[in-house]
Symmetry: C2
Subunit: 272 residues, 2 copies
């Protein structure tokens, strides 16, 4: 099944929440620390409890790389737990010259078998080309991020009147020949999202910033519903996976996900 | 010894070549393939033969990550071979939101003990902040890269009349409070380098693009000499480490490095 099919299958069921596995050994329930691989045990619990209604899983590679070989072992085992029908996003924000980019693409797509990547646009098309050549994968290119520093460069005005991030968005449409591009667009400022939806069109959108970073789930869902697109994933990491620190952590996270899905359903069909 | 001290110690000796360990299993001498860890054996040979006059070693993480756990093991063993007095650059081109960036910084600086990083500026200051807090490390921020795609965004004109990459350069000066910032500036177009040296000032510059990508060593050395700065590293990877595929590969690379250093010395003191 292609990444595109996995995504649309879940969206058809009104599942839009991407569960972010930013798993930090210092934040997981303490009882797991006694096991051989606490990170994996935590992820396994979360995945088993949430896979019936998660739209995707996003794995932030930094959290695994920072633990060296042990962390990569946890990552490999975690990936084996994700059901084949659900999109797995390797959130690595790569971007480098061609021969290096090729290595990164092989690492994410061939070695780890992720369905999707996240990519830095700064170095331009040839830096992303090796990723774009994987027809059956998805590449979420950073357009507008959800952090305060998005004003340093992303929101600079160009001489053509556009913001830099809007120029990146235009280029992503051009680069989408294999229908395997998506974008990352922060959900912290809803007006920015609304005013750009007509440029985003039907590109898959991965939205960070809801929850811990302050964006509103309701606003995002209503904005897409008003525009008439369903092609989006709302990533929630810390706000979802650390909902509880007892032995029932996974069930609490699953209940929270169910609640979020209800909110999405309600707001999807009551747009302004 | 701090990263800054390591760099200046080598530059004082007129060593400016950064040996890029972009080690590809398909390109190393065939006789090494019989060993347990061919990548490590290759790197070990290169490092032992070149450390007497290398200015720095740059390790491109993609080449190791693409080999999974085995690759990371080769990386860790390689790092142990680099003499403590020589700058090691973890070329990973990271850049992510604060809590993730912190993980990447810990991975490169604490776990692997690299002296320096390379970073993507797109997401702005807070995405780099965790790296900038390591006072005794160096962070080479991408300003102008050496690939064709540098025209997609890096060379876009801003409404203030500057190119985007020049705005990034200005910001790097602002962010350099701990004197631990440097820049990556492609050496493929010498006129661009010359016309920006007065803005670069004394920031350490890591220059890709000489050799396989077409930039001229002579031009770069003369440009810095004319401007009166010595604070630069010329990275050469493929053009240096794959100079020979026999059992004498390391000695051939060392001889080539010696020749490059002679060229640098000649051109440094005969600038136009």
């Amino acid at each position: 099944m292609t990444a595109q099919e996995k995504l649309s299958n879940r969206i058809e069921k009104n599942y839009h929440i991407c569960v972010g596995l930013d798993t930090d050994i210092n934040k997981i329930p303490k009882h797991l620390l006694a096991s051989d691989d606490p990170i994996y045990e935590f992820n396994k619990g979360i995945i088993e409890a949430t896979s019936f209604q998660a739209a995707a899983y996003k794995i932030n590679l930094a959290f695994y790389e920072s633990r060296g070989l042990e962390g990569l072992r946890s990552l490999e085992k975690t990936l084996e737990m994700i059901p084949r029908g659900i999109l797995s996003i390797g959130d690595a924000k790569r971007g480098d010259i061609g021969n290096t980019s090729k290595m990164y693409a092989q690492s994410l797509f061939d070695h780890f078998s992720f369905d999707a990547s996240t990519l830095h646009p700064y170095m331009g098309k040839d830096s992303l080309q090796p990723f774009l050549e994987f027809n059956e994968k998805l590449n979420f290119i950073l357009v507008l991020t959800s952090n305060p520093g998005n004003s340093d460069f992303e929101k600079l005005s160009l001489s053509n009147g556009k913001f830099l991030y809007q120029e990146v968005l235009s280029k992503v449409h051009q680069w989408n020949e294999n229908k395997n591009c998506g974008i990352v667009f922060g959900a912290t400022n809803i007006e920015e999202l609304k005013s750009n939806l007509s440029h985003i069109k039907n590109l898959p959108v991965l939205l960070p910033g809801v929850g811990a970073q302050g964006g509103s789930l309701e606003d995002v869902v209503k904005a897409f519903a008003s525009y008439g697109s369903e092609n989006y994933l709302i990533n929630i990491s810390r706000g979802l996976i650390y909902a509880d620190s007892s032995e029932n952590f996974a069930e609490v996270t699953a209940a929270k996900l169910e609640q979020l899905n209800k909110e999405i359903h309600q707001n999807k069909y009551t747009s302004d």
